[in-house]
Amino acid sequence: MAEEEPPGGPPAPKPEGVEAAKVPAKPAADAVKPAPKPAAAPPPPKPPATMAATLWESDLATELKQRFGTQVRETSTYLGQNFVVVSPDSVISVLEHLKLEADFDYLVDLTLVDWPKRAERFDLIYILYSFARNERLRIKTPIADGYKPESAVSVHLTANWLEREAFDMFGVEFEGHPDMRRILLPDEWQGHPLRKDYGILQQDNRWVQENLGIESGQ
């Protein structure tokens, strides 16, 4: 979750903040950064704003908690959208349970969010939809860098390309995926561009020189 992540204090708000400041389009986002929630506390050390999510109470949330116990870490709702935070080892069984028992039969999207300062660096997010209930649900699972989450292809075929894209962009490998290769970038490309430590102007210079015959793509 976002708890300790977005550092409201002075240390660089985004890892590539320095990099981005060179881009003319971003004049002084860092300068105008008073804590977005002034109501919280005026002293500077502890104003990290968090998502104002509230507890999500429903039959489904209770059922999930009962069935998976402490594996379900949190059931919350924000802006009317429900999400469940689950331990990484049990996320596939949760997906399977939701598909078979609760009609969440459509995996809308699978993606990651990178929080480089956190111990569990990535949030892996599954967005589900149920045609029968006309309801959406997000499953979130925090994973450490290098952890290999189990592939969801056995539950939802859609996950195939989505996991390949997640691997391509973030370098998270999925265990048991039938075809764990890059999908959008060339196979030999080095680096994973949607990680926060990958600069906006960065590229794989060697690949560019070898394959395009030019010094740099910039």
């Binding site: 590539e16 971003k26 998502m51 993606t111």
Partner: protein, 370 residues
């Protein structure tokens, strides 16, 4: 003796694209063939990858708005609507009713423009030359309205976060009415050319079947899902931008083949006209911009908002860290996800059907590759 009489048919790997007129852009499909029969396919993507999601993290919310038009560039207005709705959700504001009505009119007009381009090129792929000229002729009328409204024809940047920047121009309502009156007979005209045409039916019927169960497994949405018999449209299921105020049908068919998808899209164009006719008669008066500050700075949080784009469910998952730039902006592209079902649809079919199936998926590579 009989062995040498006939040519041996062995497996052949054939490369189609990325420069191929019927892949609708820079899609490369590697086909494994046995004679004319397709044994398997593999898509090679990324030729148009521009790192849109990375760009989003390095631009302010407002600056990123024009970039989304460059994903599905034949339905730029839908892309813009989805993005604006997502940020409005994060800000917890809503566009004023007048802005919502104008948004609906322009989005539906864009749906028609997108479907027309699909119909023209799809028919061209199959071998019918005439429809593409007819379709582009009518699409031109739609693009003229966009141009008059916001100055651009394709990548329009028509909407702003919180509402609209431009008021409608003098005579906008009348031009929409004229378009609607002109357009319905034209749809009949296309149908006269194609619907009962023996070659057209022969090439499309029972080709590239994807049933409802498979659609759900692959996450396929939009006309492809509806042609398989699932009556699901986000404009009805989870209405946004005031769609609940309009009366329209969700066209469906049962077989889930290429012909059914053609029928569904033709009917959708008629329904879009129906929505536009209702919307244009009751555009409310009032402001066109909601209460959004000059600097857009959503509170810390995240939201997933999706709309029914011409190609299927188009979603934006945006994470805000409380700054002026999105911390993460994920786009759920319908073309990318629908394209994944291509292999299932043409495996076991004929090589001539490959172009029919790629055409019927209605992909835009700008959105597949982002």
């Amino acid at each position: 003796m009989p062995d040498s009489t006939f040519l041996d048919s062995t497996e052949l790997v054939l490369n189609m694209g990325p420069q191929h007129p019927s892949t609708h852009g820079v899609l490369r499909v590697i086909l494994k063939l046995d004679g004319e029969k397709v044994l398997g396919t593999e898509c090679v993507l990324g030729y148009l990858h521009r790192g849109v999601e990375k760009i989003a993290e390095n631009r302010t919310y407002a600056q990123f708005n024009p970039y989304v038009d460059r994903m599905d560039y034949v339905a730029a207005i839908s892309n813009g609507l989805g993005y604006c709705l997502a940020i409005e959700k994060l800000l917890n504001v809503e566009a004023p009713p007048r802005a919502q009505a104008i948004r609906v009119i322009l989005t539906e007009l864009n749906r028609i423009a997108s479907h027309l381009l699909w119909l023209g090129t799809h028919a061209l792929d199959i071998g019918a030359i005439t429809p593409v000229f007819y379709c582009l002729r009518e699409r031109e009328e739609a693009l003229k309205i966009f141009e008059k409204y916001c100055g651009a024809r394709l990548t329009t940047h028509a909407f702003r976060i919180g509402g609209l920047l431009y008021e409608t121009y003098e005579g906008f309502e009348q031009e929409i009415r004229d378009f609607c009156d002109m357009f319905i007979p034209k749809v009949d005209e296309y149908e006269e050319l194609l619907t009962n045409n023996r070659i057209w039916v022969g090439r499309l019927k029972d080709v590239g079947i994807l049933n409802a169960e498979e659609c759900k497994e692959y996450g396929v949405t939009g006309p492809v899902l509806r042609a398989a018999g699932v009556k699901w449209d986000l404009r009805k299921a989870q209405p946004y931008s005031g769609y609940e105020n309009y009366d329209f049908e969700i066209p469906t068919r049962e077989n889930g083949d290429t012909y059914d998808r053609y029928i569904v899209r033709m009917e959708e164009m008629r329904q879009s006209v129906r929505i536009m006719r209702q919307a244009v008669e009751k555009i409310p008066a009032g402001p066109i911009m909601g209460k959004v500050g000059k600097v857009i700075k959503p509170p810390v949080g995240e939201a997933y908002v999706s709309i029914e784009a011409p190609k299927g469910e188009l979603g934006y998952y945006v994470v805000s860290d409380g700054s002026t730039q999105p911390y993460r902006c994920r786009v759920r592209p319908p073309s990318f996800i629908n394209l994944q079902a291509l292999d299932r649809m043409i495996r076991g079919g004929l090589i001539a059907d490959v172009v029919a199936v790629i055409g019927t998926l209605d992909i835009v590579l700008g959105e597949v590759d982002r």
